[in-house]
């Protein structure tokens, strides 16, 4: 089956803009706010939310990058060890309102790993979750406060978020049928 495009560049941008507004609205401004993106695409979306917030409020909020590889719950199950990349959180998250950012929310296992990792960095006042896409099929009791778009999917489908910064072309979100075990 051919991949179907469900969001184009403008749709992605509008969604990120709305997420930024919602984050500001819910937190009543930027006091104690910080953004932490999950590698790789979550980090890029976090950067974009940062830029939106800067445009709206004229202030820089701290942004960090989190690599959750070492916290995965399937490290002993997969055959080859996944590539570990650097975590960059250059500020103290204790007593901060942390907004965790990822591209696609699926089983919730990545977020579980991210929560564990964050707790190792300090004791935030709260952790909220912002995702561009929520595709359902949660395996853990996790939900997102801010969702760019809800997309009903079946388990054999793959949702791909492609962003200009790493994927080259214009932003888009596509659904394709998963080839075995991707």
């Amino acid at each position: 089956m051919k991949p179907t495009q469900i969001m184009d560049k403008d749709a992605v941008n509008r969604a990120i803009m709305r997420l930024s507004h919602e984050i500001l609205e819910k937190n009543k401004g930027i006091k104690d706010l910080c953004l932490i993106g999950i590698r790789t695409r979550g980090a890029i979306i976090a950067d974009r939310i940062y830029a939106c917030i800067k445009r709206i409020e004229g202030v820089d909020v701290p942004v960090g990058i989190l690599d959750i590889t070492l916290y995965r719950d399937d490290l002993t199950l997969i055959s080859a060890q996944p590539v570990v990349r650097e975590t960059q959180i250059n500020f103290d998250i204790t007593d901060k309102k942390v907004v965790l950012v990822d591209d696609v929310l699926f089983t919730g296992r990545t977020i579980r790993a991210a929560l564990d990792a964050l707790i190792d960095f300090g004791r935030p006042a709260s952790i909220q979750l912002a995702v561009l896409i929520d595709r359902g099929h949660r395996e853990l009791p996790i939900r997102a406060e801010y969702v760019g778009k809800n997309i009903p999917t079946s388990l054999d489908q793959n949702v791909k978020v492609m962003l200009e910064e790493i994927d080259g072309n214009d932003d888009k979100v596509i659904i394709e049928v998963r080839e075995n075990g991707d």
Binding site: T69, L70, V84, E86, T87
Partner: protein, 339 residues
């Protein structure tokens, strides 16, 4: 995607490809950050067990490996030759096999004989990590040296590295020569002719006996420890003469490049290979090497141990043929009881 790590063991840099070395260095970069956190621990190797068997004295390497394993949440035990059952006549291989029978995942070994890690690796299913074998290799030291050079100078390719001192006995030198030449550095070895192994140029290095020439040309001066414990055969007329000819002090360093790196694998003999003002001076990265050692060893443990099924299966696969089943044993016991 880059290459996949396939090796079961880390025996030396001679057997690693350029890509594999680069993969270790890249992975270590990510692990360096973990040691800067308040909570210096990640759960990646939870439930794995790492044993270190040290048949030679060590402070740095042993502490570094243990901390690396602990920061990855692995469980560690240390066995020193002194006080172990080796004194009762057990062989190293038997000892290691017994460790393996306790379902350990990795064995870190240091021994004064070259080849002991290889012997263990060939006979065990657990991962074997060479922490120094005789005069052959000390791979994690060379990896952390390369990591430090890359960190400080940006890249290794094209850099001039001088390894100075007792090349003959130095496993650190050999591992560094293998690794640095694979990554494209120009390596020069420098030392008294009695401590220079014959044929070392075959490894692709330049040989010189002039320290001044080395100092003037090099981007990195890697000093080796004069191994006092191996000097029985009078390789040197006297230690004072060595210090005078090959020791590095501030005066001699005046001819060096502006951003030269002074490295030393430790432990240092202050006043012998290098003077105190150089060891503590602005060019010295000796303590950075120690810090980076943990990141390198975390990377190695991660690459060897993560993403693999535990070695539980091996106890079964190497056990005696057809062990009596529980039923048969019970039967036997009951008949024995009756008779």
């Amino acid at each position: 995607m880059g290459i996949e790590w396939k090796k079961k063991d880390l025996l030396g840099l001679e057997t690693l490809s350029k890509e594999e070395i680069e993969m270790v260095l890249e992975t270590a970069k990510s692990f360096k950050e973990v040691s800067t956190r308040d909570v210096k621990k990640v759960p990646a190797l939870r439930g794995k067990t790492v044993v270190s068997l040290f048949f030679e004295d060590s402070t740095r390497t042993r502490a570094s490996f243990e901390l690396a394993a602990k920061r990855l949440s692995a469980d560690t035990i240390n066995i020193a030759a002194k006080g172990s059952s080796l004194s009762k006549g057990e062989t190293i291989l038997d000892m290691a096999k017994n460790m393996q029978a306790m379902n350990v995942n990795a064995i870190i070994v240091r021994h004064s004989s070259s080849g002991v890690p290889k012997l263990l690796a060939e006979n065990l299913e657990a991962a074997v990590i060479n922490a120094g074998d005789g005069c052959r290799e000390h791979p994690t030291q060379a990896l952390l040296d390369m990591f430090t050079i890359k960190e400080k100078l940006g890249e290794i390719k094209g850099k001039k590295v001088a390894i100075i001192g007792d090349i003959l006995h130095s496993r650190v030198a050999r591992s560094n020569i293998w690794g640095l030449t694979k990554l494209g550095a120009q390596v020069t070895v420098c030392g008294p002719s009695t401590l220079m192994p014959i044929g070392i140029e075959k490894l692709g290095v330049k040989v010189t006996h002039s320290l001044n020439e080395c100092i003037a040309e090099s981007d990195v001066l890697m000093l080796l420890r004069i191994q006092l414990e191996r000097q029985r055969d009078k390789f040197l007329p006297s230690l004072r003469e060595y210090a005078k000819e090959f020791g590095i002090n501030k005066e001699k360093l005046k001819k060096a490049k502006k951003n030269v790196l002074i490295m030393h694998p430790g432990p240092t003999n202050r006043g012998l290979e290098l003077s105190a003002d150089v060891a503590d001076g602005e060019y010295s990265v000796i303590l950075d090497q120690v810090t980076n050692g943990i990141a390198i060893r975390m990377a190695i443990l991660y690459l060897l141990l993560a993403g693999k099924a535990p070695t539980l299966a091996l106890a079964r696969s190497v056990s005696r043929p057809n062990p009596p089943s529980a039923d048969k044993r019970r039967e036997r016991l009951s008949t024995e009881g009756e008779s």
